[in-house]
Amino acid sequence: MSEPIAIHAPLTSRVGVAGFTVGIVIVGIIAVAAIIGNQLVPHDPFTQDLGNRLKPPFWMEGTQAGHLLGTDQLGRDYLARLVYGARISLLIGIMTVITSGLIGITLGVLGGFFGGRIDDAVLFAITTRLSIPVVLVALAVVGLMGSGLGLVVATLGLLLWDRFAVVARATTMQIRSLDYVNAARCAGASTSHLLIREILPNIASHLAVVATLEMALAILLEAALSFLGLGVPPPLPSWGLMIAEGKDYMFFSAWVIMVPGVALFILVLGINLVGDGLRNLLGSERSR
């Protein structure tokens, strides 16, 4: 048993790679379903058929051919709604990450790079943001402005930038006086060149990990808000809303909440696996 242990691929890392692959596959499948799924499912997610309500999915008795995951309380095809809901979940996840990433990274990099007063201001903004309860703010926003997809993205985007800012600030501080940055500075590079060409590319890997976490968080928050009736307005089939609509039926037609619940679980799991995998991969890269 003298087989050498490969230093560059420790056991944890191999598990990490497997997890990463599984995560990529899950997210990939859901993304493909979200993009072209509604062309493949032969039903419209909005068309109700009151004569054909609460038909169970394929693994239960009494299922209806053509409705693979059954129908909901208004006779709408559950698979079609689920697939459409994936689109909404991913859309909200991606849009929120873009919005919050822009805000958070800008603030964090500026604070970390310049330090001093600017950093104080950024820190103050982060502290202020951390003291704001997300659901409470969402509640107030919906109360004042009504609910809608764009509003959910805006609310979540404006609230979830804190981790981006913290990570961007900390990593920028670590590298701002490294030799290659100083070298560029001595070579006469402008501040914007330093920030965009020297700092950002070198902290991007950390930010990618934050992005996956934030995306999973945004998707879960959207589901929670929709469940409370504060998120995506019906009849848009958000997964959180599907769970909310099905909760009256959970005792006797449990699949109505199980299907979107499991879908949500798998998607968030997939995104988190991708995030963990990224962290492990980048971590092992750094240890080299």
């Binding site: 009151l50 309500r53 309380q73 009256d248 039926y249 959970m250 005792f251 006797f252």
Partner: protein, 509 residues
């Protein structure tokens, strides 16, 4: 089904553990009937709420002058032993001696005179003025006799006396004032209210001094507690986990499933309740809103497949009324109504003609079952009307509706179980707070129909009103209600078609 039930049982077990495993048996041993309801009662004072929950509560805690037999619908003596109608605008009541209120005071003519003069006075701001605006005044003609003068001949007067005129104890209410009265109410009914927490719970206890020989009878169950919960799922959890002995208006989709439980029973009974969609034709929420246009309202009627809703969602024999009232009510002349079939193509065409080829957005408030509201929303969506559904509690919605803030809303009206159209139409078309049509002709016809005993004149006036209302598509009757009840099998309970659960008649098996 087996799998589903087992899963339900698993959730049930989880719910039980979560609740600290409260006893799963009905409270037969404690002689307490635990009732759970969804519509939180804002004010238990019977004249200051217009929720069905309020009517149910007042019939347990208060007595009126007369009683309507729930089987024969005949009016029988209650606090009045007899009554005479010397002319068409006078009723003379002889009152029952020896009756006590819960605070021990004796019931006399003063109490009746006080109650009737209070509720018929517009300054008292009762919740449903249309129920009492036919009373002119009451006068005492002896210690135990009262003469009531009516403003106009009122054919359904005794029905109103039976359903919506509980008697206040004058001395007590004057002493404590209206606000304190609503917190510690006193009546003369079979149950006394021992604790009232507004919007949360009401506790009742059998009134031991209730007068013997009442058609309501002495209550068999000693204590009763009514608790309010926010939604149907919570209510069902309470019933299934044994923390409630009685619930009603449960989702008809769960009717058969509840019946499969060995310890529970579910029954249903058609009631006089009509589900409706009210439209702001008068422009109270904005003078030029789309709903003020006739073709838009007609499009909405054409867009909704009411028959399918009645057959598939409400179930249990629900019907679609042509006229905006309950079909058995006197004056609810369906043949006068303009009928609108389900025709989405025509709806789209009407919308285009009205200037909305791409539809429009509208807020739709609702307190009916959320999935029923969603069904309506989807029907509207299919013709291009993008309705934003806003699910509210009954009390909150009624408050906003009365303030003229709701452009469109889904509600239900039970007519206080009075089998006369005067208990329906005037509430929505008399020019009052609930009137979103503001049609002076309809108001005139309703007064005509409500102020004579001549059946022919009444029918003519009501037909004219119904014809105008349906032709103008002011107010969409959707379907009649079939009330569903779910309760513990240890309980002996009889539902009646007047949608008035009589807990004083219930007993343990």
């Amino acid at each position: 089904m087996g799998v589903q039930l087992r899963f339900g049982a698993a959730i049930l077990a989880a719910a039980l553990v979560g609740a600290g495993a409260s006893p799963a048996l009905a409270q037969k041993s404690a002689d307490t009937l635990r009732i759970t309801m969804r519509a939180a009662l804002s004010n238990i004072d019977p004249y200051y709420n217009n929720e069905r929950t309020g009517v149910v509560m007042h019939h347990q805690g208060w007595d009126g002058l007369v009683y309507r037999n729930p089987e024969t619908f005949k009016v029988e003596p209650l606090l009045a032993t007899e009554w005479k109608l010397p002319d068409t605008t006078t009723i003379e009541f002889t009152l029952r001696p020896g009756v006590k209120f819960h605070d021990g005071s004796a019931f006399t003519a003063d109490d009746v005179v006080y109650t009737l003069n209070l509720i018929s006075d517009p300054a008292s701001k009762v919740s449903t003025p249309a129920n009492y605006n036919w009373i002119d005044k009451a006068e005492k003609t002896g210690d135990m006799s009262v003469r009531v003068k009516l403003k106009r001949p009122t054919p359904a007067a005794l029905d109103y006396f039976a359903m919506v005129v509980p008697i206040y104890p004058k001395a007590y209410r004057e002493k404590v004032g209206a606000e304190a009265y609503a917190k510690a109410p006193v009546g003369a009914g079979p149950y006394k209210m021992t604790k009232v927490e507004s919007g949360v719970s009401i506790d009742f206890e059998r009134f031991e001094d209730y007068w013997a020989g009442s058609p309501k009878g002495k209550a068999a169950i000693k204590k009763m507690s009514v608790r309010f919960v926010p939604d149907a799922a919570t209510e069902m959890t309470e019933l299934l986990s044994g923390r409630a002995d009685w619930i009603w208006n449960l989702n008809p989709d769960q009717f058969d499933s509840v019946n499969k439980f060995p310890n529970l029973a579910a029954v249903r009974k058609e009631s006089m309740r009509v589900g409706y969609l009210a439209l702001d034709a008068a422009g109270r929420t904005g003078a030029d809103n789309p709903l003020t246009k006739l073709k838009v309202r007609q499009a909405i009627w054409h867009a909704i497949d009411r028959q399918t809703i009645a057959d598939k969602l409400v179930t249990g024999g629900s019907r679609v009324p042509g006229a905006p009232c309950f079909p058995t009510q006197f004056g609810c002349n369906g043949e006068a109504a303009t009928l609108y079939d389900y025709n989405p193509a025509k709806a789209k065409q009407l919308l285009a003609e009205a200037g909305y080829p791409d539809g429009f957005e509208v807020d739709l408030a609702s307190y009916i079952l959320p999935q029923w509201g969603s069904a309506i929303q989807n029907y509207l969506m299919a013709v291009g009307i993008r309705a934003k559904l806003n699910q509210l509690q009954v009390g909150a919605l009624i408050q906003r509706a009365k303030a003229g803030e709701l452009r469109a809303y889904l509600g239900t009206w039970g007519s206080y179980s009075i089998n006369d159209v005067s208990a329906f139409l005037p509430n929505f078309f008399d020019g009052g707070a609930d009137d979103y049509a503001r049609d002076p002709d309809v108001q005139k016809w309703l007064i005509e129909g409500g102020s004579t005993n001549d059946a022919e004149v009444r029918n003519k006036a009501y037909s004219a009103a119904i014809q105008r209302i349906t032709q103008q598509a002011y107010f969409t009757p959707l379907h009649t209600y079939v009330t569903t009840y779910g309760y513990s099998k240890q309980l002996e309970f009889t539902p009646y078609s007047d949608e008035l659960p009589r807990f004083y008649l219930a007993k343990w098996k």
